[in-house]
Symmetry: C2
Subunit: 424 residues, 2 copies
């Protein structure tokens, strides 16, 4: 007889229901892999009246899980930050292993949890890129490497919107509406499109790659809301695709972390990650580039990741949560935002009159920025011009200075817009 491991699920929504269903439907192969039977003993829900298609006992009383000595693993799928953190803590304090898909909570509290957990396993494969086993790849598979760079399409909703904008000439709002109709975006899609969700995930990956404890407010996080067809045309013209990327880079002992739309070479593998799919390119100093691709969301894909954690815990083979067995002596620190360097694309709308270009050029020159590509286009509005250009490598500090100076010119008719170019 195979041993049972009992599980309590807190939050029986889309992902929770998928976990229950898959554990039942794929029971035989999962048990063969785990060496035990994984049994969901109880689910905790807020609303007992709501009809759910699951055949396990449900309750509103969360203590029925914490106080149940037979429950070995708690799966937290309720979402939110503070309340979820309290519950995660309580699970660990009750000596139960924890599995969570909650990237927002982990973005703030992953080191707190690691500390509380001590030797109790915590699985969070589902928190980043759903079904792609990127947590295990960084924590285990690439352990021999210094991670030189990581570039990830970490949010499927925004990737779907950008793909629609690029391939079907949709504008942002109509592509977003499509995403909502298809169920890819929430009713409130702000975290998807403003980079917040990708930021949470990048911070988790950065802990695995570098042992670095950064919070959302410490890093550049920008969204895709202001991208328009001019930007897409410019990108196309110069051989780029536009993606919302989570980027981590190591230079000596400084780590830069940032989430923003980026122009990237169309021929790169990561550019080929389209629609609602996710993909992460990781450059190790020894292994070179490896890339991971798959569904980043959806009940079954996320549940697949949750269950992979359950199997790992059942096998008794969990290493320290964030991948560094010893408190990292690695002296990595977060690079200040202003000193990050890259190429930039800038879009301006100006009055079409002599001298404007000279003024702009003079500001660029004063800030020591040189141009690598330039496009001036007619605008629909009379007597106005669109000026689109790309720069050679410069700093965030210099480009922001430049833009704020350009913005002050009388001839500038619209907030200047900037997209970073990731060229190497």
């Amino acid at each position: 007889m195979m041993k049972n491991i009992n599980i309590g699920i807190i939050g029986v929504g889309v992902v929770g229901s998928s976990v229950i269903k898959i554990l039942q439907e794929n029971k035989e192969i999962i048990s063969a892999r785990a060496g035990v039977n994984l049994v969901v003993k109880k689910g905790i829900v807020k609303d007992l009246a709501k009809i759910r298609n699951v055949n396990i006992p449900l309750s509103q009383n969360i203590d029925e899980i914490f106080n149940d000595q037979e429950i070995d693993i708690v799966i937290e799928l309720m979402g939110g930050v503070q309340e979820a953190y309290e519950i995660a803590k309580k699970a660990l304090q009750s000596k139960k292993a924890l599995v969570t898909a909650n990237k927002a909570m982990l973005a703030y509290h992953r080191y707190d949890l690691q500390k509380i957990a001590n030797d109790i396993p915590i699985g969070f494969e589902a928190s980043v890129c759903g079904g792609i086993p990127i947590i295990k790849a960084l924590k285990d598979g690439l352990g021999a490497n210094h991670i030189l760079a990581l570039k990830g399409i970490l949010n499927g909703t925004s990737n779907y919107i950008l793909t629609q904008m690029i391939q079907n000439n949709q504008d942002f709002s109509s592509a977003l509406l499509d995403a909502q109709n298809l169920g890819y975006a929430e009713a409130d899609p702000s975290l998807d499109v403003n980079g917040g969700d990708a930021g949470h995930k990048l911070l988790i990956l950065a802990s695995l790659a570098y042992g670095i404890d950064a919070k959302p407010q410490d890093i550049i996080i920008e969204g895709i809301e202001s991208i328009n067809s001019d930007d897409i045309e410019f990108a196309n013209e110069f051989g780029y695709s536009i993606k919302l990327l989570g980027i981590a880079k190591k230079e000596e002992n400084e780590i830069e972390l940032r989430v923003h739309p980026a122009m990237i070479n169309k021929n790169k593998m990561i550019s080929k990650v389209e629609g609602v799919m996710n993909g992460i390119s990781v450059i190790g100093d020894r292994v070179g580039e490896t890339l991971y691709y798959g569904a980043g969301a959806g009940g079954d894909a996320t549940a697949s990741a949750v269950i992979s954690d359950l199997i790992e815990i059942a096998r008794g083979k969990s290493s320290l949560m964030l991948g560094f067995e010893n408190s990292p002596h690695i002296p990595f620190s977060l690079k200040p935002k202003d000193s990050i360097k890259t190429h930039y694309y800038v879009r301006l709308l100006t009055i079409d009159k002599p001298g404007v270009l000279a003024q702009i050029a003079s500001i660029l020159s004063k800030n020591n920025i040189s141009i690598s590509a330039f496009l001036q286009k007619e605008s629909k509005q009379k007597n106005t011009a669109k000026i689109l250009f790309a720069t050679h490598i410069t700093t965030e500090y210099a480009i922001k200075n430049t833009i704020s100076e350009i913005k002050k010119l009388d001839s500038i008719l619209q907030e200047p817009y900037m997209i970073r170019i990731e060229d190497e």
Copy 2:
């Protein structure tokens, strides 16, 4: 003070030297991840006179490793099948953990080793696709899933050759010569181009996906040696790329395993794996498609995988070698070769005279095979024609029958050539 774990390496060639170098150069981050210092105490070589750029004690006497009570892990990097198996066995019998990159040995002896090992860890991440952590992905990350299909570009040399043939119109021999000059192919490249190497790797992956114990002689293994520019033009015309694929598919409880060149839709992610790179697309019944991409060979990439196994062993978190904790009750069996079904492309060289096509069509019809695409081209040889066609789904049995009947026609001037089409 961190504990040392001592390692003995058998075979200090390209990969062995990389392992030693990376363990020294990336010592700090590897120790932080592993929680111990990984120290190579001794290397065993055949020729002590050969100059090697490593600073560890070398010996020709392999017993110095087996008899050394301080050595905890043996890395087998000598290659070959039978001798390597004997050494692997001896390592396990000496109660030392084993790490091996030897896919040929594993293709024959992986279940023997698992049995001997009992609770002693065996790592073999380096045996398939070098630096890509595909072993861990299948063993751990996708554990919730039935693997419906797996399609892998598992050999970089043949992928390089095919990419050259497709992109630069090279013929097979000149592309192979280039691969040899670039160091991608061995002096004897037969296992790379005849599918043998990819076959070894596919068998290892099939054990992780299905717990199935097949040997090279049990499965279809074909190489890329006979592909010519007609095949590539046909593929191009109909939107296909040609790749040497290792394919595993599950239908009910039958598993088909095969390695051969295949035409695949150009727009699939896996088609975009070019040059010497490797890539594996895995379809899980719950997670959908995930894809893994990276360098499949080279000293440092392979060493990266070897070291990931060392870290896993050092952390004490190794699960049973082939991923099924209990002897698999899963009733998967190998599908007989003849009943495998797919689409086929066939190239014929015929005498150009009335009636030939009718003869061919009649044989196809008799075997119940219908045509989905057809191209007749002039041949350089006078009075001859090239006939290229693709079929709807049929069985290996039917296509082989058909080809052997067509071959007997007086008008056929050359051995017919067939490439499978993987269309879904």
